[in-house]
């Protein structure tokens, strides 16, 4: 009985681990998952936007960067995180404009 329980436990762990491994396949999957898990945190939104930009989705990237900038204004976000997010958003948008 004990060995069966151990087997069930390990299979359960393996299943969850497999789901996690799939998340780490690319920046897109990683930050899409992170943004879904932390919808009020600026960095996942920022990084998801950057991964969209790398994948060629310029409109999507700009939208997510704007979203990150809005999230950075929330009162619970530390000031250093908000400043860093805004700096990154402005830099990314400038680079995008130059590229276009």
């Amino acid at each position: 009985m004990r060995r069966w329980l151990i087997g069930v436990y390990l299979v359960g762990c393996a299943w969850q681990s497999h789901q996690q491994a799939r998340v780490w396949v690319s920046d897109l999957t990683l930050w899409r998952h992170a943004a879904r898990m932390a919808p009020l945190k600026p960095r996942p939104a920022l990084n998801y936007g950057s991964s969209l930009a790398q994948a060629g989705d310029v409109a999507g990237a700009a939208s997510w960067w704007a979203h990150a900038a809005a999230l950075a204004q929330q009162p619970h976000v530390p000031s250093w995180d908000a400043q860093r997010t805004m700096r990154s958003v402005l830099t990314n948008l400038r680079r995008l404009r130059e590229a276009l």
Binding site: L10, C13, W15, Q19, W24, M37, A38
Partner: protein, 328 residues
């Protein structure tokens, strides 16, 4: 046990199959850039990490090769954890289970899947190997123990906590400590001072990221409690590269800190009645200790940074299946 081991290995291959086609993500690009420069420009920290990336970038540059190497290191770590558990005289089933938990638990996925977290794998391998060797070390063989720790520290500096984990391991098997504990403490203090860790206590990783020590301690304590909960109850998800700890109310953070403060007391009280549980708790607390003080505000305590601490839980949890013989 042979069939069970084959089954676990097959499960592990299935778990990590998606990584075979994975690319470089997140800070992997930074490592690519850093190791494409001449060796003379590398930072002095983590030379083993630099070297492994440089060698692979030169001879096996595909992301697949990098991921295969990480999976191989993870297999080695799981094997070492099983060996360590067996040296701690838990039952063969418990030793096998400890290694299997490290191999398959979702909390260890980040340190395998995220190539930049290979530093954690090196550190964990060095620390566990040192503890394995320390169980039966005497005389000149102590050089091997410290050599393993140096290997770990060459991967990541947090392996320096092995200087405390090794005496802990000797304690749990009832071995007399041959080298004065003060030597290890002095070596650890030297490592901390040399790396300038103390300057990071209230500085942050980059200018303008100053954060007071108490808010940092509260957030990191919350992170440790969350990661501990994920260690114990891994089947319902909740794993992510960037958890939003800033959303956690201050009251919860304070409870987390108080809980963390209670764990050493619990470990002390269990040291005679449940030595393996005390060992697991103490191992985790020692492993996570630096992160409570050293500030890296770009990211709070994340899953791959908990991988060494998780080993203590794996051994302690596995030991609940039974012990081979009385410890003392």
């Amino acid at each position: 046990m042979g069939w069970a081991t084959a089954g676990v290995l097959l499960l592990a291959l299935l778990v990590y199959r998606p990584l075979i086609d994975a690319g470089f993500v997140y800070e992997d690009h930074t490592w690519q850039q850093a190791t494409s420069q001449p060796a003379s420009t590398w930072r002095p920290m983590r030379p083993l990490m630099h070297l492994s990336w440089w060698v692979q970038a030169r001879y096996t540059p595909s992301p697949r090769a990098f991921h295969v190497a990480n999976i191989a290191l993870h297999l080695l770590l799981a094997l070492l954890v099983g060996v360590l558990a067996s040296r701690l005289r838990v039952s063969p089933l418990a030793a096998w289970l400890a290694g299997s938990m490290v191999l398959l638990h979702p909390l260890t996925v980040e340190s395998v899947a995220y190539l930049s977290a290979r530093t954690e794998l090196f550190a964990a391998i060095g620390v566990v190997a040192a503890c394995v060797l320390a169980v039966t070390a005497h005389g000149w063989r102590w050089l091997l123990v410290y050599g393993a720790l140096v290997f770990g520290m060459a991967g990541k500096e947090t392996a320096a906590m092995g200087l405390l984990l090794v005496p802990l391991t000797r304690w749990v098997v009832g071995q007399r400590w041959e080298i004065p504990l003060g030597v290890n403490v002095a070596l650890l203090a030297t490592a901390i001072a040399d790396r300038g860790w103390l300057t990071l206590v209230n500085l942050g990783e980059a200018g303008g990221m100053r954060i007071e020590w108490l808010p940092w301690l509260l957030i990191q304590s919350t992170a440790v409690v969350r990661l501990t909960a994920l260690s114990l109850v891994p089947w319902f998800g909740g794993f992510t590269v960037d958890y939003d700890y800033d959303l956690i109310p201050q009251a919860f953070r304070l409870v987390a800190l108080l809980t963390l403060c209670g764990l050493p007391v619990l470990a002390w009280r269990l040291r005679k009645s449940q030595p393996m549980l005390a060992f697991g708790l103490a191992w985790m607390l020692i492993a996570v200790g630096p992160r409570l003080l050293i500030q890296t505000p770009r990211s709070y305590f994340n899953e791959h940074q908990f991988s060494v601490g998780f080993i203590g839980f794996a051994i302690a949890g596995a030991s609940l299946t039974g012990q081979a013989e009385p410890r003392r």
